[in-house]
């Protein structure tokens, strides 16, 4: 295809790709929000002093980390309907968007919980003791003292995991969400130009990744602004 027809096609399909990009971003961000909360729950569960709870959480996290992402997405999307049918004898369709968000946040939280757990353990225990000595309650100590410090340690890892999540969103095209990859699929079937349109999809993902990396670097600098540097 020559340049003019490419520009023509680009102007024709740019709207579709814009919608698809917003869909991908919306999915990724909602999975990130749910995933972070879930990750905190998993991390606290694994650190719990009630051993059975700690073991159970560790088991769930290990299973989630050992399964292919595609299998988890299919399990949630097709499995929910099946489970609901077995339990209530009724058919209820889970929307692909909801299923995608649940599956992606589960995958994200399994990895993020390990990062959070490590970060929480890296906060010196003297900090907690000092907070106790000052008379702060345990929840207040956790949210005001431990978490802000753990955040700085966790940020690089969580940022990397966000990039993984962003790339995993491509898988939800397979359960029918109209995201970047699915849009590329549809257009390339219509135009017989698979190379052009999958390249287009790849470039959009690349742009989002580079933008996120930039943002994460800035957040890293912001979160460690009070850490004094020693210049030699």
């Amino acid at each position: 295809m020559d340049a003019s027809s490419l520009i023509d096609a680009l102007s024709r399909y740019s709207g579709l790709f814009l919608d698809a990009t917003l869909m991908t971003l919306g999915l990724a961000l909602s999975a990130l929000g749910a995933g972070l909360i879930l990750a905190l729950v998993f991390a606290l569960g694994e650190l719990s002093r009630f051993r059975p709870l700690a073991w159970l959480t560790a088991l769930v996290v290990t299973i989630l980390r050992g399964l292919p992402e595609l299998l988890i997405i299919f399990f949630v999307y097709f499995g929910f309907t099946h489970a609901f049918f077995l339990l209530t004898d009724q058919f209820i369709e889970l929307s692909p968007f909801t299923a995608g968000t649940i599956a992606l946040s589960l995958i994200y939280s399994a990895y993020a919980s390990q990062i959070l757990r490590g970060a929480m353990l890296s906060v010196a225990s003297g900090q907690k003791e000092a907070a106790k000595a000052l008379g702060l309650t345990p929840p207040r100590t956790f949210f005001r003292i431990v978490l802000p410090q753990a955040w700085r340690h966790a940020l690089p890892g969580l940022g990397n995991q966000w990039l993984v999540l962003l790339k995993d969103t491509a898988l939800v095209a397979l359960i029918g969400i109209n995201d970047i990859l699915r849009q590329a699929q549809l257009i390339s079937v219509k135009t017989y130009e698979p190379f052009t349109w999958y390249c287009m999809a790849a470039l959009i993902y690349l742009a989002i990744t580079l933008l996120s990396q930039n943002l994460i670097n800035r957040m890293k600098q912001h979160s460690s602004r009070y850490v004094r540097e020693v210049k030699i």
């Binding site: 698979p194 190379f195 999958y198 790849a202």
Partner: protein, 232 residues
Amino acid sequence: MSMDTELSYLPGLSYLPELLKGLGTTLELTFASVLLGCVLALLFTLVLTLRIKVLNSLVRLQILLFTGTPLLVQIFLIYYGPAQFDLFKDSRLWPLLSEPWFCAMLALALNSAAYSTQLFKGAIDNVAPGEWEACYALGMTKVQALGKVILPHAIRRALPAYGNEMILIMKGSSLASTITLMDLMGYASRLNARTYDTLTVFTMAGVIYLALTGIMTLLVRLLERKALAFSR
């Protein structure tokens, strides 16, 4: 679903033979991709460490493209992309490029090469500068030092992280089912479409994947014990 059919495959064991048919493909794909990916990663690491002109920036571009875009997009691009050009269709490479197995393997290997190169390069950068100096003091050239001392050390240090990378490739190989390859995931999807017994089928597939992850983790641990025996 009537009661008697449900009882006949109570634990879903009857699905196992059908699912295991795909195990061979999954293993072949994983093994071939790990092998090719590792060889490529070593070459790329060499290029980056020796700062070979032109090739250096090509490797950086490869890493940027393959770590910045989703694996599924890469698989689709390699499998469907070449069909757009008569150049590829008329070439001798066409029998290979129209083969789903080869395309999936190539995508997985290039993807893993990009991530592993980052890993290996990081390990080399972390080798103590004294080791380089000791090699130079013994009269070795940069290439000799790299091949005989630095690389073997760096690779051993990178082993735990590389083990994770291998597991990621194994899980990523499940995406090959989207380009009609009948691997473990492919058989699971087909079985699900035929029986609608979603929960059981995907649970059985999950158990097999978890077993594979477990075995691979154990193997890498054993390898680590051997390779890092000198440091204990």
